[in-house]
Amino acid sequence: MIRKSKFYLALGLGVLAFSITWIFLVFFQIEGNIGSPGNTPRSIPFFLGCCMFLLGVIFIYQYYLGYRPKSSIEGIKKNEIKNIAICIFFFVLYSFTLEWFGFLISTPVIIFLITRFLLQEKSWKINILFPILMTASIYFIFITLLNSALPRGTIIELL
């Protein structure tokens, strides 16, 4: 018997937990007494939940049979989670400042913060010019060429 990989066990348990939560939500989040049996707004979501449950069982069965993934899969490390959280923080910060301060103010500031502090870019030319040029180019494309609306910022509008 080949050495067991815990990948399929973890995947199977994760899929099972997700499918059970999904099926639970189907009954609490969707009105059920509409339409004929097998043809209600719940039908497809419920069926999908069952499919997912079945797939979870298959993964656990694969684990018991000693199946291993074709290519090695590294676990997610603490450091990686921390770094992803920092990146996502910048994403969210950009979205948040975009809402309050608008595109023209938030974009150069956030891109400067990202290049300087997150990506450790040392060249001042890139840190200063790159955010300004990118902001100007996107503004030109969306506002001048495409007549789209970019966020003006709640605070800026109030002022």
């Binding site: 995947l11 989040q29 770094n83 970019l150």
Partner: protein, 509 residues
């Protein structure tokens, strides 16, 4: 027919369409040429640009991006030995060997000319097939369409590059995401948790932007933070040398065969460019009768560039067949193009020729224009295009970050969409990490509505009798094909496991 052709020509013969084709071709070549960036990502980023455009302009932009991306993949494959797109992987062996011998310009020239010939021939095949299949498919009822879409979906999940079951998990996840929001048939809220903004559900375009672009941005940022960022590539002075008539005459037969192969494979949902390119490469090698010539494959044989490049560009025509005639996208790129068509009120499927024939013909004109522009760009501007390879990946990632955030916002002028895009991106990143393919998630989102609406319409017509799905030969045939697709994949996996087990037992002994 002639009236529709004239109307389509008027729609596409405008300055706006010309600029859109140039922009799309350029963006496609760049995203195709840079390893790590994909033309699917370029298409997802281009989608928000098409919102305010005329339908012909917007669709031309997307098609040119698709074609440019498919062709551009060969640039880095030949010059630096790293395929810009998975479809160009088969070109690396001989293309890079030629570059090392100092014949990069000949390889680039051969790649661009056979890409154009292959793409244009596949367009002709596509025109004939789309018309034929549409006329046949127009007779389909909801039960047949349900089975057909389910078949398309099963092939996509089954042929997902890693494993059938992980492909199915991804596909089911995509279908689940599609059910969030208002149920269109009964008007019932599903998984909205009482939030008014959730009534609209997960926007397909926002999800695609998040799934395709954000994982790449995160990967590049993490590599930079961990000081593992890839070096940029400086390939020096490069030019494209077009081969002469004798070259085309010598390889025309091979190009024709590989184009046929690429178009057929492209028409099968879920297969796509890499499979076509590798099969064409293998065909070129096996069909070589001269043993000495055969030995040069992998060491700089120009046929090893001609065959995969003709085939992977022919895939573009093939992939458009199920998209236009049946409304089934075969890969992420055509799924995004489908999104673009829907934005402009063009609903692909059997009725498209009846309802919007000029739109179909304008697509054909746009594809021809895109191939011509991509050809001109690759021949004349290659030395400028390769300069982009020098740009640091994290600078490109910053530019993409702005585009994804702004692009997600302009779709519905909604800040919630930006947050959903970030969530989808994070979700895509973790799926990548545990080797669950993203393509079936996107196709689940795209095909989900067709699957559910046709299932429920068929059930309503039959008063809840499930036998409606087995009442015609067509639907039974598609059902058998679904079973066959899954069974073949399961058999393949079992054989792989047995092989793995035997190898381990031998090692242990």
């Amino acid at each position: 027919m002639i009236e529709n052709l004239i109307a389509a020509f008027h729609m596409t013969a405008t300055l706006e369409v010309f600029f859109a084709v140039c922009l799309g071709s350029f963006a496609g070549i760049i995203f195709g040429a840079i390893p790590g960036l994909t033309y699917s990502m370029a298409l997802a980023l281009m989608l928000p640009f098409t919102f305010t455009m005329e339908p012909a302009t917007g669709i031309s932009l997307l098609l040119a991006t698709y074609i440019g991306g498919m062709t551009g993949g060969s640039i880095s494959a030949i010059l630096i030995g790293i395929p810009g797109t998975p479809s160009a992987a088969a070109t690396v062996a001989d293309g890079y060997a030629l570059a090392k011998k100092g014949e990069a310009s000949i390889a680039l020239g051969a790649a661009v000319i056979v890409s154009t010939i292959g793409g244009l021939i596949s367009l002709i095949i596509m025109i004939l097939l789309v018309d034929f299949i549409s006329k046949f498919a127009i007779k389909f009822g909801p039960a047949e369409i349900f089975m057909l879409v389910l078949f398309g979906f099963s092939t996509i999940c089954g042929l997902a590059e890693r494993s059938l079951f992980r492909g199915l998990v991804a596909g089911v996840l995509g279908l689940m995401l599609m059910t969030i929001g208002i149920d269109e048939l009964e008007g019932v809220q599903r998984f909205t948790f009482g939030n008014v903004q959730m009534l609209q559900g997960v926007n397909l375009l926002v999800a695609m932007i998040g799934l395709f672009a954000v994982p790449h941005i995160l990967e590049v940022f993490l590599q930079r933070i961990n000081k593992e960022d890839k070096v940029n590539f400086d390939v020096g002075e490069v030019k494209t040398t077009l081969p002469g008539f004798q070259f085309i005459k010598k390889y025309f037969n091979l190009v024709l065969r590989c184009t046929g192969l690429g178009t057929s494979i492209g028409a099968i949902p879920g297969s796509g460019g890499p499979i076509a390119a590798f099969l064409a490469y293998s065909h070129a090698k096996n069909s070589e009768k001269d043993p000495k010539e055969k030995d040069t494959f992998g060491k700089g044989n120009i046929a090893g560039v001609v065959a995969p490049e003709a085939a992977n560009n022919a895939v573009t025509g093939g992939a458009m067949v199920p998209l236009l005639s049946l409304g089934i996208p075969g890969d992420p790129a055509t799924a995004i193009i489908l999104g673009g068509l829907l934005i402009h009120g063009i609903v692909p499927g059997p009725m498209l020729f009846i309802e919007n024939a000029p739109a179909v013909y304008s697509i054909y004109f746009a594809i021809v224009a895109a191939y011509i522009v991509v050809f001109i760009f690759q021949v004349n501007f290659i030395k400028y295009i390769v300069k982009i390879l020098k740009v640091q990946p994290h600078h490109l990632a910053c530019a993409i970050l702005i585009m994804v955030v702004v692009g997600s916002y302009v779709i519905r002028n909604s800040f919630l969409d930006i947050y959903i895009m970030i969530l989808m991106g994070l979700f895509g990143y973790f799926l990548n990490r545990i080797k669950i393919p993203i393509t079936p998630v996107v196709l689940g989102l795209v095909l989900g509505e067709a699957i559910e609406s046709n299932y429920r319409t068929a059930m309503s017509l039959s008063s809840g009798e499930i036998s409606i799905f087995f009442s015609s030969i067509v639907s039974v045939l598609f059902f058998l094909l679904i079973i066959l697709t899954i069974a073949l994949q399961v058999k393949k996996r079992i054989l792989e496991i047995r092989k793995q087990k035997n190898q381990f037992d031998k090692g242990a002994a």
